[in-house]
């Protein structure tokens, strides 16, 4: 099969699947949501692209010095950091599952290539970042037209390729790490031991780890695509075309190597069958000792969540994201704001811990496949089923928050006690609002989700949009006491307001749970059709 024929077949397959989805139940709403996501991403990207164009224009005109280098470094490191963090922990990007296509006479490398392209074109977040890079290129072109723009364009393209390839590589590495139970546990334990050791070291020396980490310049190479693209662009802005091209060659070679490594790992995983072969409770008496129906439900949900590769990935990744945020953000907040502003990152971690696990509350039934029939065959209360799911998701999110806060404390020093207590309250208080909303979204718009570390397909565009609305709503709600506290410089307002909102959330959740159970019973045919493929 020629490359063009394969591409045509893929495009036709995706268009046909899209068309069938649109023609099916809720298809129009799905289309509107998808368009809306891009409609938000593109104007937002275009607006910020104006800013990057402006700073690139002035940087090129300056040529050298801090006015030239700071905007370049800010753009590449900022885009790299948010792109990798969001793509790994949040974005429901498009992608291709290599395993599904291994039976066709198409080179697997080509399928991986299409997958990388789809992960840029099909993801509103990626489109947003590409627009920022495009804006910077436009600004540079306006400032100094000429042949040097060709290597500059290649730097932006190489940076984009390297970043998506790096995301794919990290996903594959994490998937490999978490595939075996021993590896998963070992990986997580190592991360937390390291965090624990860092906390004790900081407590012992009285010196913030952040101060130490920021002093190590070599750490910038962790962000290799950003560091290479930064060096190449800075050289090109300064008129050093040869030096710029040398950095560009390094960037392109690194991008290619990363893409090949990601593909090799994905292929090896696909050929090995993919799934995790962990041995677990082998007798009826083994397992968690939780009594009764609710105990059984909680055990099932807990094991399902903890055996999902994404759970281990989040447990490894979120503390790292928190550490990077503290590394870049905390010193500026401490300099520019008061006590309340300096404590805001920890409140952000509280909400981000809910956001990171949104696939588990926005599509709570999506991983059950045939098992979902059990809820309608067994004599169980559907409200109890949802309660067990919510409880487990909440506890997992709480663990992620605790780990992120610990990493933040390790790197940036301990915030005041009121901030830790308040953030815990925000986490607790946001949960009933989000989980209650998630129950209705899960029932009204379920989708069969893959049990892979890649996040594509875990929730539909419509559910993703509903999730954004729920998180924004909860964020807005809890921002009110935060803003008042900042205004009057009284932290207790934040704590008291959060406690009040948490109590109201608890009352709303208790009132809504039986309704969600009744809705699930009424929609059982549509839910089973979406999750198990049963015709309704």
């Amino acid at each position: 099969m020629t490359a063009l024929a394969a591409l045509r077949a893929f495009s036709e397959l995706r268009l046909l699947l899209l068309w069938r989805r649109l023609k099916g139940r809720g298809g129009v709403a799905e289309l509107v949501s998808k368009v809306l996501l891009f409609a938000i991403a593109i104007p937002a990207g275009a607006a910020f692209a104006g800013a990057t164009a402006f700073s690139a224009f002035h940087a090129v005109r300056a040529g050298q010095g801090i006015r030239a280098t700071a905007p370049v470094a800010g753009l590449f490191f900022g885009v790299w950091m948010t792109w990798t963090a969001v793509a790994l922990s949040l974005s429901e990007r498009e992608g291709l599952d290599l395993r599904r296509f291994l039976g066709y006479p198409i080179p697997p490398g080509r399928i991986s290539g299409y997958g990388l392209a789809a992960s840029v074109i099909g993801d509103p977040f990626a489109v947003f970042w590409c627009l920022l890079l495009g804006g910077a290129f436009g600004g540079a072109a306006l400032a100094r037209p000429g042949a040097w723009l060709l290597p500059l364009a290649l730097v932006y393209a190489g940076f984009t390729l390297a970043t998506v390839a790096l995301v794919a590589l990290v996903q594959e590495l994490l998937a490999r790490l978490v595939r075996g139970r021993r590896g998963r546990v070992l990986g997580i334990v190592l991360v937390y031991v390291a965090v624990g050791a860092a906390v004790s070291w900081v407590a012992g020396t009285g010196r913030s780890l952040l101060e130490v980490v920021r002093a190590i310049r070599a750490l910038r190479w962790i962000a290799y695509p950003a560091a290479l693209a930064d060096s190449a662009t800075a050289a090109l802005y300064a008129g050093g075309t040869l030096r710029g091209v040398a950095w560009l060659a390094g960037l392109l070679a690194a991008a290619l190597l990363t893409a090949v490594a990601a593909h090799r790992l994905a292929l090896a995983a696909a050929l090995s069958g993919g799934g995790g072969a962990s041995r677990t409770a082998a007798t009826g008496g083994a397992g968690w000792r939780l009594p009764g129906r609710l105990g059984g439900l909680v055990e099932k949900e807990g094991k399902y969540l903890l055996r999902h590769p994404l759970a281990a990935v989040l447990a490894l990744l979120l503390p790292a994201v928190a550490a990077v945020v503290m590394w870049r953000l905390a010193p500026r907040l401490a300099e520019e704001g008061g006590e309340v502003v300096a404590a805001l990152p920890i409140f952000g971690f509280a909400l981000y811990a809910h956001l990171a696990v949104q696939v588990f509350w926005l599509n709570a039934l999506g991983w059950e496949r045939g098992g979902a029939r059990t809820w309608f065959l067994a004599p169980v209360s559907l409200a109890e089923v949802l309660l067990a799911k919510n409880l487990v998701t909440y506890l997992f999110s709480l663990a992620l928050f605790a780990a992120s806060a610990a990493a933040g404390v390790a790197l940036g020093g301990a915030p005041p006690a009121w901030a830790l207590g308040g953030a815990l309250l925000v986490h607790l208080g946001a949960a009933p609002w989000l989980l209650a909303a998630g129950n209705f979204v899960s029932i009204l718009n379920p989708t069969a989700a893959p049990l892979t570390v890649q996040r594509g397909g875990n929730v539909t565009a419509l559910s993703g949009l509903a999730g954004m609305a729920a998180i924004s709503g909860a964020g807005g709600l809890f921002a009110v006491p935060a803003l008042i506290a900042i205004r009057v410089e009284a932290p207790w307002v934040l704590v008291a307001g959060s406690a009040l909102l948490a109590a109201l959330g608890g009352i709303a959740y208790a009132a809504l749970l039986p309704r969600a159970g009744a809705l699930l019973a009424a929609r059982r045919e549509a839910v089973l059709a979406a999750i198990t493929g049963d015709e309704a």
Partner: protein, 255 residues
């Protein structure tokens, strides 16, 4: 006494009937074979009788209870192996059985004891610690049967229990089902395409065609002097000649 009794049971999909005006009579203690060609409405009927689908019209009484009025008490007394099974793929076989027992109201310790007994009886003892996703199709079928039996139901629904499993497994399951009915422990309602197996197992038979009941009664009454296969083909339609495919034998196209 009847274990299952339906009256005018109908299910429409997009206005078209999948099952129409069905009047089933399944005596308690019977081994009832519910037969029909693909798409005749067998699985739709089982789904309506077990609560997975709501009927468009009509009524169903299961174990003397109106299904629409008190579904939970019916569910507590029946066991189901649905088409497509109802297994949680990320649990181990042992966990699946024990948690299933807990969902049906068994104490954890008792559910664990029964899970171990079932693993042994179904010859899955060595695989109890494997995730269900790693089971073969036949092993999944056996595990699903174990789940359906763990709470000691009075009525067992089995949708195509012998589909996709080897002859040895079929023989084992068949013996187990026969023992259950012979001991008077339960009524079994089963659908299957494997007519030879059904003929050796069932005491009663119902044949459905295009959503309507075409024949029902004791096996000997329905069969008369013929085999069940002859009666089945006569009832549901004639044998069709095979269609030749024009391109086969030409070899693959050059890439």
């Amino acid at each position: 006494m009847l274990a299952i009794e339906t009256e005018g049971l109908t299910r429409l999909f997009d206005g078209r009937p999948a099952v129409e005006d069905l009047a089933l009579h399944v005596p308690a203690g019977a081994f009832y074979g519910f037969l029909g060609p693909n798409g005749a409405g067998k699985s739709t009927t089982i789904k309506m009788l077990t609560g997975l689908l709501a009927p468009t019209h009509g009524r169903a009484r299961v174990l003397g209870v109106d299904l629409a009025r008190d579904p939970l008490s019916v569910k507590a007394r029946i066991g189901v192996v649905p088409d497509g099974l109802s297994l949680f793929e990320r649990l181990s076989g042992a966990e699946q059985l024990r948690i299933h027992g807990q969902l049906y109201g068994l104490e954890r310790r008792e559910a664990g004891r029964r899970a171990d007994e079932l693993l042994a009886a179904l010859e899955l003892e060595a695989d109890g610690g494997k995730l269900v996703s790693e089971y073969s199709h036949g092993m999944k079928k056996k595990l699903a049967l174990g789940c359906a039996l763990i709470h000691g139901p009075s009525l067992l629904f089995l949708d195509e229990p012998f589909e996709g499993i080897d002859a040895i497994a079929v023989s084992g399951i068949r013996r187990m089902l026969q023992d259950l009915v012979a001991s008077g422990a339960m009524t079994i309602f089963l659908t299957s395409h494997v007519l030879e197996v059904v003929e050796r197992l069932v005491t009663h038979v119902g044949i459905i065609r295009a959503g309507r009941l075409a024949a029902e009664g004791r096996l000997e009454e329905v069969r008369g002097g013929s085999t069940l296969e002859e009666v089945f083909i006569r009832t549901v339609g004639e044998e069709r000649p095979p269609q030749a495919l024009s391109w086969l034998g030409e070899g693959p196209r050059a890439p």
